[in-house]
Symmetry: C2
Subunit: 328 residues, 2 copies
């Protein structure tokens, strides 16, 4: 099966650009609805951070370190590097008697406008706390303290990554066919899009066992602290706020987006074939409206999905649309 036509960009009454992709809705038994190829093997990238955080909670490491719900949300985040994110990661590391030099995520300028401006105008380089994955890495370091592993916690055979991989394979119900190195240097294991969506369904409808309890805590944390999962103006934060905490969503690089719908016991996973963020954001928005958890009239729907697209003088130049056959 081929990728499906998913999101169209229109200008002057004509479809100017077109995004293909795959999308799957699952419950814990398997596929409920699908567009494109549900068995397509993908890298979930940052969309699976709540899976990578499971060992942190299940092992007892989170409780041993006294982590708050806000910190658990940050462990699942691709944050904007705003002052509040950077400070939270700094405080977290300090409580572990560690510093930003113990992180292995690398540095990049933060997406947050105010913090970016502060660094730029004071001639200050960003540090590793600014990396959008620094919360996940603080979680890795917390788990590592508990497991007693070495400093190079992003190596694929390190106890932290072995635990993350085991959780990933159990949750997706698949043996991962391989891994890539993510932007933040951690291994990212491949799975089918269906496996990712089924994993999200398990987070939506967790059991009463240790794993189920950990899943429930992580989803609760994401839903309660949407600003920690991404940041002001970002799709994850805006979508979760618009759905009033009923649903947890998470983006991943190269056009991935997932959603966890506890009320329906459903999980959703999207992959834009070309890796475009505008396509994955539009597609997950369309699917959330389709599944009845996002009001089609909410401003986030026009911001991320239907447009209008405006130019530098504010003139409407076009719109976005779901392609025929993809839900709108």
């Amino acid at each position: 099966m081929q990728a499906a036509e998913m999101i169209e960009i229109w200008r002057g009454g004509r479809c100017e650009s077109l995004h293909f992709g795959h999308a799957v809705v699952c419950d814990t038994d398997g596929v409920v609805e699908a567009w494109g190829a549900p068995n397509e093997v993908i890298f979930p990238r940052s969309s699976c951070k709540m899976v990578q955080a499971l060992p942190l909670v299940e092992s007892g490491a989170a409780d041993a370190a006294g982590l708050s719900e806000r910190q658990l949300a940050l462990a699942c985040a691709s944050h904007s590097g705003a002052a509040m994110h950077v400070e939270a990661v700094g405080d977290w590391l300090k409580a572990l008697d560690l510093g930003e030099e113990d992180l292995r995520c690398g540095c990049h300028m933060p997406r947050d406008k105010d913090e970016n401006r502060r660094l730029t105008c004071s001639d200050t380089e960003p540090d590793q706390r600014h990396n959008n994955c620094s919360g996940k890495h603080a979680g890795f370091l917390t788990l590592n303290r508990h497991l007693g592993g070495g400093a190079e916690y992003v190596e694929v055979d390190h106890p932290v990554q072995i635990a993350a991989k085991a959780a990933f394979e159990e949750v997706t119900g698949e043996t991962s066919p391989g891994f890539g190195i993510d932007g933040c240097s951690a291994p990212n294991h491949a799975c089918s899009l269906q496996g990712l969506a089924r994993g999200m369904a398990r987070f939506a409808d967790p059991g009463g066992d240790r794993r189920g309890q950990a899943m429930r805590r992580l989803v609760e944390a994401m839903r309660k602290y949407p600003e920690m999962v991404a940041g002001e103006g970002r799709a994850c934060t805006t979508l979760m706020r618009a759905m009033r905490g009923r649903v947890a969503v998470k983006t991943g690089a190269e056009g991935v987006f997932v959603a966890i719908l506890p009320e329906q016991g459903l999980g959703v996973a999207v992959k834009a074939l070309d890796g475009a963020t505008r396509a994955s954001e539009a597609a997950i928005t369309a699917l959330l409206v389709h599944l009845g958890v996002l009001d089609a009239k909410d401003p986030v729907v026009s911001a991320l999905l239907t447009g209008p697209v405006r130019n530098w003088r504010g003139i409407v130049t076009g719109e976005m649309r779901t392609a025929k056959g993809f839900p709108d």
Copy 2:
């Protein structure tokens, strides 16, 4: 015919994302080589700025205003808004007894890092000179002075835009099926990708008439002043420098790229179906190597096409490749 698989993004030994697209090589008689659908109707966006600049030269307006070759290059540019671009547009407008308020392109923060930083850290808003299309608009204003039209020179029935449309239809050899409003508020007329490539072939192999002379002057200007057509680090500038002025190239929004090859009398046009710049830049690079005008070992080829892709710690995480069947 469908879009062709064009550019792949690899990670961990697996194709993570895939860009479809269309590409055409033409001489003045028609299609020489094609991938995907050469008859696909597209918006050329900024890739056709040298066509939109033809009336400026042909009418005698450029000579009447004493425009330099550097200014003609700027008329064909999507510049970075660096100080040199902003000053050049400012001086140009001043010589016309006009100011930036006479432009109709709108304002956006410049892509140039130094100028962006200067504005950000001095709390200064960008003005319309910073718009990447301000050189084209200075050209429109120069033509408008010559034609004696009204101030609203971006309206589709304004003499400036009527002249631009006529040149566009003559050069592409097609009646445009419609137009959209571009990011800079000027009309952008649709054509087939083949029509755009054939137009570029006409610029590559111009006649001795008034039009041919204007084409030759504009191509010369672009080839001599690659830094005015885009800016430091940008694909157009870097590619033209790597080819030592033998070829003129121009990018357009939503994944368009064109090339003019005077030595072969060829024109090239690329459209990434999904509108991705990384795909159009990679595809035009592959085609320029394929056509023998760009050395496969030039650093620009790894920068724009083959990678490696590195993460925030400088670790190689993957690579880009041309898809099977697309030239490499």
